[in-house]
Structure formats: structure tokens, C-alpha cells
Amino acid sequence: MTVKDRYRGIIFPALLFLSLTLAPCPGLAEGEKVPAGDLTKMPLEELLRLEVETVTTASRFRQPVFEAPSSVSVVTSADIRAFGYRTLADILAGVRDFYVSYDRNYSYLGGRGFSRPGDYNTRYLLMVDGHRINDAVYDQASIGTDFPVDVDLIDRIEVIRSPGSSLYGTNAFLGVINVKTKRATEVGRFEVSGEAGTEDTFKGRLTTGIPIGEGSEIVVSASKYRRRGKDELYFPEFDNQANNHGVVRGNDADASGQIFVNAAWGPFNLQGAMARREKDIPTAPWDTVFGAPGTKSADERGYVDLRFARDLGAANLTTRLWYDHYRYEGDYVFSGYTNRDLSVGEWWGAEAQLTGKVMNRHEWVAGMEYNGYIRQDQYNWDDNPYQSNLDDIRRTYQWAAYLSGNIRPFRDLILSLGARFDRYGTFGNTFNPRLGLVYSFLKDTSLKILYGTAFRAPNVYELYYNDGGKTTKASPDLKAEKISTYEAVLEHSFPHHLRVAASVFHNAIDDLIVLIEDERDGLLVFRNVEKQETTGASAEVEKRWGKTLRARLAYTYQESKDKTSEKTVVASPRHLVKFHLQFPLFRDALQFSLEELYVDSRLNGRDRDAAAYFVTNLTLLCLNWAPRLEASLSLYDAFNRRYEDPASAEHRQETIAQDGRTLRLKLTWRY
């Protein structure tokens, strides 16, 4: 029985069980439909029965953005629709200080001067409704079509630009991205969505959201995506007779499927997700055969998360129990044989968290977390003839305890203190404090002075990957990476919906884990060798006129140095500019959105750097031109700039060409 079969064994009976238990409940029914999304249409008595969201990402308790002890950006479902964002990568590329690159296999997130082509986003913690998405083998935060939840199900995304290890532990190194999914009334009773785009791109989604009774509801959604990709890709590095003059035909397909369920029942909430994504790799990495079909990657990610929340009077208790699955398969076609990677992660965990208030003004949160990693297995073998190169089976554990609070000594001052202790079965202990001061010195102005520390635990890939001494050896003595961050944030709201935010930041990273060549035996090995420092500043201005006309301009300057070599860090652009405009064309019914992204040139440590680029994305969003129907037309890279992203070391390419102009039409019908 394969892992996938086992999954089907768990998820589908669970779904069926839920559907059967929930189906015979119409005793509660009175036949009136809850308006999707618009709460103002509900009578007061019903509004008083709804529950408010009480926890947010920055502090693990609810607070307004201007009080959060970090620089926070929020992207809403309205932004996602207006700008035609297709993936989490599209969304994050539009957030101040961030940039995204793509190597035609995975998408990589960079921010605040740090990005490493091919680093699997391990220095960002990615969560869905508080559930950790980073896997247990590579720590990968999947933000492309491999992200397990359909972007249409996202209600809002909180992006925290500072480390969060003092609350969330590993991976919350440069930032925390928490994706919050829609509730039943926001989805609508029944929703069908279809997309079609250039390069033979199709996506379909079916979602149902059913409120059942007081505090109970269910959302079920399934999506399927496929893209044939570029018919022809040209890589000048391969431009010779043997390699078809650098041209690859086909080999760029991307396909994924996703299932998502969220069921709330009184104080319980059960969420499950399962996704699989397969991508053909056209770039011939690791010296695989250029142009040969069959080099591809497949990622499978699933989880079940059961949450229980209770008001104890003096405090709110939240307990969680989860089970996670991850599987990666990689096929690499070499001349005469295929090399195959297989990694499997299976883990479970539990958390208990208490939040409360002292004297009605000092908020606090305390919690404990345990993760039991049942499988963290890595296999690598050659087919035909069969030869095993790696057969590494691991299991380990990790637990943590944290305490954090907001103390308000004076009227306009918040002192935010927090620390977390983590114990790892692999490398030992780590303790990460943070300190923040939020001072509102004028009525609409707040100044935040923040200091934080964070860590990233070495993952099993870095610790144990080896190929029997051919090219790579294991490195079981790795320590955690460390970062210290210093930041000052100024936020001010002017009258007439004008908002300004500015930050100055300095990050110092130590013991960065890097793949190097050991001089003694010539083998590649991961070591804690690099130090990196980034200093920068960024600012954002946002202005709103009425309900739908909005403009936002953001600029980031950053300078990163590798402190071991005193060189500028690769793949780190010095300037970033982002401009967003939403413009109503015909009342609320037709909306035009423009996104302009500028990314400065990026070094890649080789001969040819990735050139600076300006990319323009346009979306026309049409609401209600037919009953219950929403349509949008998006043009990405409207001027066909075909910019290139820096390639990681396993590529012979120095830079990798992006898609160029693409078009997408999307229709959503909501019942």
C-alpha cells in the first residue's frame, strides 16, 4: 500500500462521516440563506451569536496592526481577486520588502536582503490557520502551485516581517506568513470556479460552505490545476549541436490537485488538507540530460488539525492535535539511467495555549508544543541497473514552551516581551527572546522599536543527506542558524485615508548553513560557516478614495554583505519598488487593477547577473454582470519583459527565463 492509498484511507472516510453526520441536521433549518460575506444583512440577534476571531499572528493574541510588535502587512481576499493573484508567490511578490524567483520547478521567496536561489524558503514559517506548512524533511515553505490550499479559499494573509521564533520556533527566522482561510458564509453555499489561460492552463474548483447551527459549519473544497507550460524554452548555456541548440520542447508541465475541509462544531474545529503537485523540470539541473523528458518533481502534502477552544473565564484555552504527511519524489534522467529521490515525512504534534489579560490591560500568552517525527526518511537510488545511494531512516522529536506578553505601563506605551525555549532531539536546546516597544507619541502615530532573535534548526536533509561518499557526505553535528534583528517602524495615519509606514532594519545572521566542499576529501557537506548582515530601509504610502479607488506605493532599499568574504550577497536586489492601483471603471461592478513591480539587478556569483526588471500585471474584475457571476481577465507581464531570475548552483544556466506575457480568464459562479 502506498502512502497515498493510506491517505485516502483516512481522509475520505472522515469526509464521508462528516457528511453523513451533518446531513440529517435540518431540524435546525428554517430555510433562510445566510448572505455570503455581507454580515450587515444579518439580523442583530444572529450577529450576537457569531464569534469573533481572537488570535493573530504577531503576538498569538488579537490586536490592531498598529499595536503589533512587528511590521505587519495584510493581504485580503479582495486584493487577491482584484489583482488576479494565482498563487501565494504572486501575492507575496506584491508585499513590501519581498521578491519571488522561480526556477521552473519551485518558487523562492526573498526578503530583507536575504535570498538564496534554491533554498526552499526554509527561513520563513508558513502557516495555514496556525498550522505549520513547512515540511519535516527539507523545511520547505511551498508558495507556488505546490502550496496545499487554493488561493481562492484565502480570507486574509498576515505577513510578519520580523522573526517569530520567540512564539513559533524554527523557520520563523526572517518572517512569518499566516494564511487564514474563509469561513462558510464567506464561501457561499456552493461555488464553482473555472480558469483558462495561455500555455494551456486550466483550473477548476468546487467549493461548498454550509453553516449548520450555532458555532457549527463546514467548508469543503476541491481544485484541479494543469498547465502544459512553455512549448519551447531556450537556454543559451546549452546552445550547441548536441543539445538541440539550447531549445527544450515540452517538459514544462505543471499539475496539481487539492482537497480542503474545515469543519467547526461548537468549540471544536477540524481542518484537513491534501495536495499533490507534479512538475516537469525543463532546465536539466544536476547535469541531467538536456531536453530529455522524465526529469520531474512531485510533492505531496497533507494534514489533519483538530483544535479545541474554550473560555475558562480568566483565560482562553486552545488545544490542538495534528497529524502531517509529506512526500517528495524526484526523477532525474541521466544518460543511460534514471536517478530517483524519495523523501517521506510523517509526524504528529500537540499544543496547548493559554491567553488572557491581567487587570484588563496587560495581555499575555503561554503555551507548550510537542512534535513527534515518526518518519523523516530519505532514499536515493539509480534505476536500471538498480543501485541504492541513500537509505536514511530517522525519527526524532522536538518540544517547546513559550511565554509572551504586552505590558502597558503608561497610556500610550506597550512593552512587548517574549521568549521561547525549544528542545530538539537532533541538536539540543535553543532559547529565543524578543523585546518590543510600541509607543504612540501622537494620536495617529506609532513608533515601534523592536529587537528579536530567532533560529532555524538544521533539517534532516542538511544533517543526513549523503550518497555513499560519491559527492556528498552527511553532517550530523550541525547547529541551528541564528539571527538577531533590530528594527524601528514608524506608522502614521493622516486624515482622508492616507497611511504611511516606514521601517529601518538591521539583521545579523550567524552560523548560516551552507553547502561547501570539504578540502580534506573533496566531498560536499553542509556546514555552519556563513555570517551575513543586511541593513535597509523601506517605506509605503497608501491612499484610499471611497470604497474602491486605492493606490499604494512601496520602496525598499537593502544592502547585504557576506561577513566571511565581505562580498555582496547573491540574489539580493538593492532596490525594490511596488505600485498598486485599484480603479473603479463602472461603479462597483467593473474594477481595473494595476500592479507594477520593480526588482533591481541581482548578483548570482557567476558571470551573468540577473538584470533589473519592471513587470506590469493588469486585471479587470467584473462583479455581478450576470446574477451570481464574477469574471476576471488578467494579463501578467503585460509588456512581455520576459525577465530572468538567478539560478542556483545545480543549474548550468546562470539565469532562468520567466514566462513573459500570459493571459488568464476566470469565472466564478456562486450560489
Binding site: F12, L16, S19, A23, C25, P26, L28, A29, G31, K33, V34, L39, T40, M42, L44, E45, L47, L48, R49, L50, E51, V52, E53, V65, T76, R183, T185, E186, R189, F190, L206, T208, P211, I212, E214, G215, E217, I218, V220, S221, R226, R228, A255, G257, I259, A264, E278, D280, K296, A298, D311, D331, N360, D412, S440, K443, D444, P495, G546, K547
Partner: protein, 186 residues
């Protein structure tokens, strides 16, 4: 295409889930409540509903607007914008915001943000709040004289009513609303 072939199993799983989705969609329409709504999205909706049950002192100014003024640091953000343009008792809601009470003299409803808690007594004594419906969402505001104060109890929104303060300014709160709220002062 390589990526397509081994998707067969997954596609089968999708099919099963689609069938289940259909079963669920065919469950008779059920009235119920949503869970976990963003706090200020809910508060905005509650305010809109409350306004339907309140009659304000007659307004001598021309126009048919109901001006909702937010004093201090606006905690609603986008969530209040859904009320813009909606009508209550034939009047169209207009939203204005300011950190300064003087800018809000045209407001019919004054929502005092939590950021103003430190000077709530001064605000309530100002002649600029005369004849306005005062609202807030900070613990203790109702006792201080804010007419309607939203509070969160066990994750749900409740509202406190200071009817004494309301009567003093000629604001009439309907008995229906008085039944649903928690009366702080008659």
C-alpha cells in the same frame, strides 16, 4: 507528459470528494451562524444594525446623510467601508474619520476609538458631542457616559447601553434594542 500520468490516482480521489461536495450541497438549506468572524467586520455589522433601532434628535442641517464619525485611531480599517453608502431609515451613511473632535462636528454618530480612552471624560464633556449618538468598544466606556458600548464576552459581541446619557442628548433607543443590550444606566 510526465506530470499527467501519475495523477490518475489523485484524480480518482478528487472525484470522490466532488461527489461528497455535491452531497453536502444538496443538504437542505440550513440557517446558522458562521464561526470566527474578524472582530471589526462583525462590529461594523452590529453598529449598522444598532443604528436601525436608534432615533437621533432632529437635524436642522440640509441633506439626507447619516454621518458616522470615527474619533481617534480607526480600528475598523476596511471593515467599516462596507457601511458606506448603505441606508438607515432613508438616510445614506457617510463615514468620516479624524483624530480631532473639531473635524467631526458634522457627525451624527460618534464612534470613539480605543485610542481615545485616556481622554474619554474630556471628550464626553465637550460641547462638540452634544446631540450625537456616542458609541465605543472599550471596557468602561458605558459607565463613563458613552451611550452604546460594544464589548466582547466569551468571543461574542455584546453591547452595553447607557440610556441615561442617551436621554440627556435626546437620543431615543428603541425598546427592542434595550432588551438585547446590557443596561448600565437607565
Amino acid at each position: 507528459m510526465g506530470a499527467g500520468k501519475s495523477m490518475v490516482d489523485f484524480r480518482r480521489s478528487l472525484k470522490i470528494s466532488l461527489v461528497i461536495a455535491f452531497i453536502l450541497a444538496s443538504v437542505p438549506a440550513v440557517r446558522g451562524e458562521d464561526r470566527r468572524v474578524p472582530e471589526y467586520r462583525l462590529k461594523a455589522a452590529v453598529i449598522y444594525n444598532i443604528l436601525k433601532f436608534v432615533s437621533l434628535p432632529p437635524d436642522k442641517r440640509p441633506g439626507n446623510e447619516l454621518v458616522l464619525a470615527v474619533l481617534g485611531r480607526d480600528p475598523f480599517g476596511e471593515d467599516l467601508e462596507v457601511l458606506r453608502g448603505k441606508t438607515v431609515g432613508g438616510r445614506t451613511i457617510k463615514i468620516v474619520r479624524s483624530g480631532n473632535l473639531k473635524d467631526l462636528r458634522d457627525g451624527h454618530v460618534l464612534f470613539i476609538a480605543p485610542s481615545e480612552a485616556w481622554q474619554i471624560t474630556d471628550i464626553l464633556h465637550s460641547p462638540l458631542v452634544r446631540g450625537k449618538l456616542t458609541m465605543g468598544d472599550t471596557e468602561g466606556f458605558a459607565e463613563k457616559g458613552v451611550m452604546i458600548n460594544l464589548v466582547v464576552r466569551e468571543r461574542k459581541i455584546r453591547f452595553q447601553i447607557n440610556n441615561k446619557a442617551a436621554k440627556r442628548e435626546g437620543v431615543n433607543i428603541s425598546s427592542q434594542l434595550l432588551r438585547l443590550g446590557e443596561i448600565v444606566a437607565r
